[in-house]
């Protein structure tokens, strides 16, 4: 263990000045497996196998299947090892494995320290290419997932978000819960989970992102010896559906101490320049919410506005938790109308640019967050956008921001979770329409 003590302090000391140099990223293919590799001098290594398709990969009745299918191998390990020996080996080298399945994509992740990269990759790759599908381990894991799904419903934020998606997009892929509902999870069988895994973990749906202080040659050799054996499979169907948010309201009565409100509206397609202007605009709207709802009127601890949504459904959200829904909704819609009719100021934009860049660099601090950013950017138009992001932010003009908020989002789908007696449908207003602004 002495080796490790020295290691712990060595890492910080070994960071070199690279902020001024463009980091090196390599994109290559190893026998049909696409790889994006970013060099980093930090002492940790992050690998993520992204799986495309998201909620398009399964039916509503089987929601949660992908989440279990990708997580179980990371818990149980490969067929060649017992679960015990797999976990003991991972614990000995401090490797952590995980998987997450979302609306647009999933990823299977490895985080480890450079010293144990070889051992950690070996376990990770074996679990992906030759997963054990043992009934007893599946049963235990499924029960845990069912309990998690029940517990998630008690968290108002998580439940509000789920309700918003499932009601606004009823009948589409985005109405599915990627982590599953207690009912859908209960109904899943090991055979369904295994079949799903074999369908989606294939060369045509997966790509690997690695960030760390290793050589390209080393990574190539490792992929060749492992992930290259994955089946070719079929490409994921495109997610884009081209539909827009419709006006609507869903109210769920819950006796809790404060009330949660979310409004969802259209945003520009992800990965475009417009989407960056949109993010800046929503971030400024968030600052105005903070001023108007929290500082001036004390209506909420947590008002917010942000760009969110998914590839097929790019959206923005406005949000608040409040004991006075009526007054809060009035101010929120007022502020949305103000950005549409009066626009933003250059002072707001210039300050926001600097703040945005601060946030951007904070997101580059860890290899794990970098690998996530690279993978998500690749899915939404190309990993290179991670590096051109600052340039796009800096060149944004007030007119660009004004243009996107006038063009997008004149229909809001509202979701409310809290005391039903405090609200009436007419409180949930709609913003000024784009065609009226043009007049």
């Amino acid at each position: 263990m002495k080796k490790l003590i020295a290691l712990a302090f060595l890492f910080i000391g070994s960071i070199h000045m690279y902020a001024d140099n463009k980091p090196k990223t390599h994109e290559f293919e190893v026998e049909g497996v696409k790889v994006i590799f970013r060099e980093s001098v930090k002492g940790t290594i992050s690998a993520r196998l992204f799986i495309q398709g998201g909620t398009n990969n399964y039916e509503k009745a089987q929601e949660g299947v992908e989440n279990i299918a990708l997580n179980l191998p990371m818990q149980s390990g490969p067929a060649s090892m017992t679960k015990d020996s797999f976990n003991a080996a991972a614990e000995a080298v401090g490797a952590s494995f995980g998987a997450n399945s979302g609306y647009d994509y999933a990823n299977i992740s490895l985080n480890c320290v450079k010293m144990y990269w070889d051992e950690s990759w070996d376990l990770y790759a074996k679990a992906i290419t030759d997963p054990a599908w043992r009934q007893s381990e599946f049963d235990v894991f499924k029960n845990q997932m069912v309990a998690n799904a029940k517990q998630a419903a008690t968290n108002p934020d998580s439940h509000l978000d789920r309700m918003g998606m499932s009601k606004a997009w009823e009948g589409t892929n985005y109405a599915k819960f990627p982590s599953g509902s207690p009912e859908s999870l209960e109904a899943l069988t090991l055979e369904q989970v295994q079949e799903h895994y074999e369908k989606v973990v294939c060369k045509n749906r997966a790509f690997l992102v690695v960030v760390g202080d290793i050589s390209k040659e080393d990574l190539e050799a490792k992929v060749k010896a492992s992930l290259a054996s994955l089946p070719t499979g079929e490409a994921a169907p495109a997610l884009y559906a081209g539909e827009h948010v419709q006006e609507g309201l869903y109210v769920e009565d819950r006796d809790i101490e404060t009330n949660y409100i979310q409004g969802m509206f259209d945003a520009p397609q992800k990965g475009t320049e417009e989407s960056i202007y949109n993010s800046l605009a929503l971030s400024i709207l968030g600052d105005r919410f903070f001023q108007e709802l929290r500082t001036k009127r004390s209506l909420s601890y947590a008002p917010a506005a942000y760009s969110t949504g998914y590839a097929g459904r790019p959206t923005n959200e406005i949000y608040i938790s409040t004991t006075d829904p009526k007054a809060s909704l009035d101010v929120m819609i007022d502020e949305v109308n103000k950005i549409k009719t009066e626009g933003f100021t250059s002072t707001e934009l210039e300050g926001k640019k600097q703040k945005y860049l601060t946030g951007y660099y904070m997101g580059q601090e860890t290899n794990s967050s970098l690998s996530m950013n690279l993978g998500v950017s690749e899915l939404y138009g190309g990993w290179e956008k991670v590096d051109s992001f600052t340039e796009s932010v800096l060149k944004a003009k007030v007119d660009d921001l004004n243009g996107v908020v006038q063009e997008y989002g004149d229909k809001i789908y509202w979701t409310y979770l809290g005391k039903e007696e405090l609200v009436k449908p007419e409180y949930f207003q709609q913003p000024v329409k784009a065609e009226d602004l043009k007049k």
Binding site: M1, A8, A19, A88, S300
Partner: protein, 459 residues
């Protein structure tokens, strides 16, 4: 505990620093620790990996300093930091300045620390230091801003109360800390928050907000010499207290539990039963050895390969089982969480008690598990250092709940933990000690399970 904390006070008069408390040789090579003449501790962490700097000021304040009449007011004070001060006349102007400098900011309040932090471009370090200086030293506590902020802080409280587990934790805290509940209750009391006055804020300031009760950490793409010079120029005339803060305002002892007790928390929004067990653990500065043993022990017990996890979770008796010790100077709690499978509730409790009863057995953990636990804790430390803007928060947590020296030697001291140290920890703090056991149920679960009372877990 190394002796360096109490030695060396070579006054570097020209710079206005004393190289006291901690020798540079103990620190990682990019850490630079000094103390200003007014007692303000300064830690510079050089990390040029991104062009940012984080400035954090932490104060020995928080729930542990609160009598019932001040329950939650360290937290409210933290909110007032981000409002009018002598250089910035209102919160609106405060936010304008945040925007101008491109600052990401926040603050947190916990048991034994209140910290305030900003992250911004390293090219704006000097402005950032001035910004923090104005806020920490010269808050105005305007009546109108307090009137507006009290319900906002209460709104944060109400958000917490919207989750059923919050009530389980609150009930646990009341049982564990009795008359000193307010000193472990960061979120506070609704009435105290809503009726707080500027006078109460000033009293907190006069008691705790002094340079000799604070640390400033400047971390990121900065040059140590420049930071030290600027910090001295800006914060050097901050007047130290002319009294010993914790001698004048002592923290009372947390009386040990007299006997085990239990409770049921009923909440109609609960979806699954959750059991929580709480006990009084070590005080970080009085039984440091036990704190290291506790961290290794609970990490080992939480490993997926441990018999504890296999017999409870892998067996299907529980959906989740784990625990840990929170490092604090004034009695850190030991807390365990058990999410039982309702279909095998009694068997789950029996298995849980059986496992705990074996915790002091010499062969309860394998050598590999103990090594793996130490390894994991060391690797977690490596990960925490990767993000300098977040790592700063960990540093000040350790500064407050133990001291910086404790943290600097943390990984090394974990490696020294022996099997016997862990047995001693279990025998001293867990086996035979009273505990508080609570369970969260919905009214329907309570009825279905026929549960009128929950027996304390047998230790």
């Amino acid at each position: 505990m190394r002796s360096t904390m109490k030695c060396l006070s070579l006054a570097l008069v020209g710079l206005g620093f004393s190289a006291g408390l901690m020798a540079q040789s103990d620190l990682p090579e990019n850490f630079y620790y000094t103390t200003l003449d007014n007692g303000l501790e300064l830690l510079v962490v050089e990390d040029p990996s991104v062009p940012l700097v984080t400035v954090e000021i932490a104060v020995h304040n928080g729930a542990y300093t609160e009598t019932p009449e001040y329950d939650g007011l360290s937290h409210l004070y933290e909110h007032m930091f981000f409002k009018a001060n002598k250089d910035i006349p209102s919160q609106e102007k405060f936010l304008d300045r945040v925007n101008e400098l491109g600052i990401t900011f926040n603050g947190t309040t916990s048991d034994e620390r209140v910290n305030y932090f900003i992250t911004l471009s390293n090219s704006k370090l000097d402005e950032g230091l001035e910004f923090m200086n104005s806020a920490i030293r010269y808050p105005l506590f305007l009546q109108e801003e307090m009137t507006a902020e009290n319900p906002v802080v209460d709104g944060e409280f109400q958000r917490a109360e919207s989750s059923p587990t919050f009530f389980l934790f609150q009930d646990m805290s009341r049982h564990l800390w009795k008359d000193n509940y307010s000193r472990k209750n960061t979120i506070g009391d609704h009435d105290i928050i809503l009726t707080a006055t500027p006078e109460k804020m000033k009293i907190i300031q006069e008691k705790y907000y002094y340079p000799n009760n604070s640390i400033i950490v400047v971390a990121g793409a900065v040059e140590r010499g420049h930071v030290e010079k600027k910090v001295k120029a800006i914060f050097g005339d901050w007047e130290k207290s002319d009294f010993d803060i914790f001698e004048k305002y002592p923290i009372p002892e947390f009386e040990p539990l007299a006997e085990s007790e239990s409770f049921i928390t009923i909440n109609e929004n609960a979806q699954i039963p959750i059991i929580m067990v709480g006990m009084h653990g070590p005080k970080s500065m009085e039984d440091m050895k036990a704190t290291y043993a506790a961290d290794v022990f609970h990490t080992a017990v939480g490993l997926q390969s441990s018999r504890f996890q296999k017999n409870l979770v892998e067996s299907g008796l529980a959906y989740q089982a784990g625990g840990g010790y929170q490092t604090l100077k004034h009695v850190g709690p030991i807390q365990m969480i058990l999410v039982p499978n309702p279909m095998s509730f009694d068997a789950c409790i029996t298995a849980f008690e059986k496992e705990i009863s074996m915790w002091a057995d010499a062969d309860y953990l394998t050598d590999e598990q103990i090594d793996a636990a130490k390894n994991q804790l060391a690797i977690q430390d490596v990960y925490s250092r990767e993000s300098t803007s977040n790592f700063v928060h960990s540093l000040t947590y350790w500064w407050a709940s133990a001291n910086l020296d404790y943290y600097v030697n943390y990984v090394e001291n974990l490696q020294k933990v022996t099997r016997q140290d862990m047995v001693d920890y279990v025998k001293t703090y867990i086996h035979g000690q009273p505990n508080v056991t609570g369970i969260l149920l919905s009214p329907m679960m309570k009825q279905q399970m026929g549960m009128d009372k929950m027996d304390p877990i047998s230790m």
